[in-house]
Symmetry: C2
Subunit: 170 residues, 2 copies
DNA sequence: ATTGACAGTTCTAAAATAGAACTTAAGGTC
DNA sequence: GACCTTAAGTTCTATTTTAGAACTGTCAAT
């Protein structure tokens, strides 16, 4: 599968993976949320090669996650700031950080703690149902095909059936 | 930066990216949550090359996200199921799907809808503060160094300062 | 006139990925 | 007993991506 094919998939996960699903994009976005904005600052704090950084920034701008804003004329220089679409990635970043906090920390403990300014306490993010407010778990969720589902919804046919169907078509 | 270096970073995001930060791992995990368990089924539904699939499954098992369970003897065959550590990835998957639903769907609409069995309604996931229950946004969160922070906390010194410091050291 | 900051671009070597064919092991079919 | 099928990989070559370092173009300050 080519990279571009991912964006076309009728799957919201695949399309998001097309934006953030590589080694560097999420790390760049982490820096954005920590208020890093400039090329050399990204490069210095991440140790990414300049080539890849230029490439990834271009991609994030193309997807509308970052925007280039001029901060000086002559020579014209830009900084990269999060758009609303980019700010909306916050729950993804936080859920990733939280999973790492629970499952990937070493004996020294968490690298970062998060304070919720609104209530003043150190917190963890919790994912809840928008309708009833209960915490979510996979087993209490049932998936239905939506209006944008692929005709014949292969995500709902079992892969086993699909394999057979493909074999018959061939 | 090498792949293995990521797991060693004192950053919960980087360490999680070491597990799920590539083109395929999240797609494989999506299939796991949709109850795909077997090699050929993953291969058929994703179109991933068999080589990469074998490699990624091995990696996910190594990280303790999937477990290999024998489902028949002679010839011995295994299926891959989510561990608790893997099930805990659910909020990450859901926040990614949700962002895609909001920002990446085409005119046809969402490919999938989610029903919360507990309350019977179609829902979206919402990330809230574990302490006060309010929805989270980046600007209401303040970051502190935790016990596992790098000495001299480079994530909190501005990259600009760091760049200077590095230059001085050289 | 030279040096330094900043934001890239260019180059070569190394690593990862795609795509297809091959392997191993057992069961069933003619 | 030769042959086909299922399942879960492994092996192979060609292509694409990434790493790492050096280079370019603008302008400001010394």
């Amino acid at each position: 599968m080519k990279w571009d094919a991912l964006e076309e998939e009728p799957c919201s996960l695949a399309r998001t993976v097309a934006v953030i699903g590589d080694r560097w994009s999420l790390l760049i976005l982490r820096e954005c949320f920590l208020r890093i904005r400039r090329f050399d600052d990204f490069q210095a704090s991440l140790g990414i090669t300049r080539h890849l950084l230029a490439d990834r920034l271009k991609k994030l701008v193309r997807f509308g996650v970052l925007r280039k804003i001029p901060y000086q004329e002559a020579p014209k220089r830009y900084e990269y700031i999060l758009t609303q679409k980019g700010l909306d990635l916050y729950p993804i970043i936080m859920s990733i950080v939280h999973w790492g906090n629970i499952h990937m920390v070493d004996a020294r403990g968490r690298p970062l703690l998060h304070e919720h300014k609104s209530c003043g306490k150190m917190f963890d993010p919790v994912m809840v149902c928008s309708e009833c407010g209960e915490p979510l778990s996979a087993k209490h969720v049932h998936v239905h095909p939506g209006p944008g589902a692929r005709r014949s919804s292969p995500l709902h046919a079992s892969a086993r059936e699909r394999t057979k169907r493909n074999a018959e078509q061939a």
